[in-house]
Symmetry: C2
Subunit: 341 residues, 2 copies
DNA sequence: CTCCATTCGGCAAACGTTTGCAACAGCTTA
DNA sequence: TAAGCTGTTGCAAACGTTTGCCGAATGGAG
């Protein structure tokens, strides 16, 4: 049915190995022969069979991309960038979704292992041990998690959290809440640690509420708890939760940022669409996707296991405002910053 | 390196064909032998090589899923449902993104054709002819487009548009705008036709603005044009554009729904997060993804090319309100509907 | 005790490539 | 002129499965 290398060989009067070389090692075949073969191949509509090629070379030219939840708007830009970048290098991408479940995650890696050349594990919820285990079965690049000895690309969310907390402290807030993310998230631990340390150093309080599922319902559900702490500023694990909280507070008649300031993380597309626009920490997700693909594809060559950290940026919008201890100077400065933006 | 069927055969003292049958035709092998083989396979960590299997059976157990833009929140739920459903049937899913470009779309189908058993083409931007052409190279199921002779699953967006327009007419609006979507979109044509017909029948005006890229920037950019028409109600191609328009109007001091009512389409997760919450037409995207996968996988058996239409639902929230011609009765009824919701 | 049917398992040929090896031609170099 | 090199091509063995065919073993019926 399908046209194979053999048909092309017959039609152009050469041996199949010459046709094969025309595609996989062009410099080994006479330019004249090559163009003749290419012409007949084109005419016959020949496409190399990747399964057959994979069988003998051991390389599938596929990569797996595993994320916690495709519907979480944090991931699509990463997926998109990774897929486009991979395609440019003649690789195709399997995308799979674990529903935030570490078990599904592990199963998925195992199932994919044999039919891909490597896997991008994004924001895994498994334990470090499990991941190191899987690393032995298939090349892995981990995104948003640092495990010694494993290639990784992380966004420096600790730095972002520090900046965010400093911003809030500068505005005169002295009692903060960290609305935590899911158990098992490295990012969550990083934020918590960085935010906690920064607040403590400045002599401010930081109450941690969580863990929570990283969805807006969880943010909304936390509204009462946040108010009960008496805190005047909240840093949320991600924008989804921040937005959920924001709306829930507004629905209760709490003014944001008048009474409570909110900072999110991720800068998903919708963080600029809510009112007030969300102050948040922007993550370079697209760059992370591309970098991860590159690292995975290079991994075969040497055994180098780099760990790349991408910087993050605090984006000050309108969900943060002066707190109860704001000196006039700080307020003026922050107001100026707002105006500029 | 990897453990093959041959290793399992040797270790369990049977021929490789017996091992093969243990996995692909268990009823042909003695239960006792079978369990012995399974045990050693398990112990050795054997995983069948799908490339080899694909080579001989001609079925890759992969399917392709092509969407216009992964970052458009309309798609992730569909992708997620399709992927989960396919995995349950032992299929893996290649996801690819065309960036709303018909050329990329066609290239992508061709590239994927040989390494998948079929392709789900979601909201294609190609011409019908092109799609029919590709249909000859690879089994296809088209989502959100109706082409005679091609298996398809569509969401009945025409019905949704009719309901939406009737809702607006009932509120006393007599001059509407349809904020159109991208050229090449079947959905766009359907909405336009249905909305136009419904408005015309009721003796109301419907001005079409577009085509537009289906993103919120386009919605925002259309704010002036919408106001210039003097219309009091807008139906947008999708929620993204509706939200963009909503925010742009609010930024200009226009009250929604006081001065202008807005209806979106899709019911993406964020349409309930903006204020006012968006009235919109909900699409059963997850069901569409599952149905499409089923149709694709059944396609091999018979040649039946069904066309499934899934119903849509108008969800009345707070972005629509009484128009200038609203009879008191109608207003009361609609207000009651609001309250109930 | 023979015959037949049934169940089970082995044999080997495929599937469409890649690739090490060898063959050959036409050169250059000594 | 012989030896050696280079560039181009053919040959055939692999890669890990599936599957049609055949023979062996088993058990029941006559």
């Amino acid at each position: 049915m399908a046209v194979t290398i053999r048909d092309v060989a017959r039609a152009s009067g050469v041996h199949i190995s010459t046709v094969s070389r025309t595609f996989s090692a062009p410099h080994l075949v006479n330019p004249e022969t090559r163009s003749r073969v290419l012409a007949t191949a084109e005419q016959l509509g020949y496409r190399p069979n990747r399964a057959a090629r994979a069988l003998i070379t051991g390389r599938t030219h596929n990569i797996g991309l595993i994320v916690a939840d495709i519907a979480n708007p944090f991931f699509p830009p990463l997926i998109k960038a990774a897929e486009t970048h991979a395609r440019r290098r003649d690789y195709h991408v399997f995308v799979a979704d674990t529903d935030e479940d570490p078990i599904v995650e592990s199963d998925l890696v195992q199932a994919l292992a044999k039919q891909v050349d490597g896997i991008l594990l994004c924001s895994p919820r498994m334990s470090d041990d499990q991941i190191e285990q899987l690393r032995r079965e298939v090349p892995l690049v981990v995104v948003n998690r640092l495990i010694t000895g494993l290639p990784a690309v992380v966004m420096d969310v600790g730095q972002g959290a520090r900046e965010a907390v400093r911003h809030l402290l500068g505005l005169g807030h002295r009692h903060l809440v960290y609305l935590a993310g899911p158990r098992g998230s490295w990012t969550n631990r990083e934020i918590r640690r960085a935010a906690g340390a920064t607040a403590r150093t400045a002599g401010a309080d930081l109450t941690v509420l969580g863990p929570n599922q990283p969805v807006e319902q969880a943010g909304a559900a936390a509204a009462e708890a946040v108010l009960a702490t008496g805190a005047t500023a909240v840093l949320a694990y991600n924008d989804l939760m921040a937005i959920g909280l924001l709306q829930a507070l507004q629905d209760r008649g709490v003014d944001v940022p008048g009474q409570v300031s909110i900072v999110g993380i991720d800068d998903i597309a919708y963080s600029g669409l809510v009112r007030p626009r969300l102050t948040t920490v922007a993550n370079p997700t697209a760059a992370a996707g591309r970098t991860a693909v590159d690292m995975l594809l290079q991994q075969g060559d040497d055994g180098a296991t780099g760990q790349v950290t991408l910087r993050t940026d605090l984006i000050i919008r309108n969900s943060t405002g002066p707190g109860p201890y704001a000196p006039a100077v700080a307020i003026a400065a922050e107001v100026a910053a707002h105006v500029k933006e």
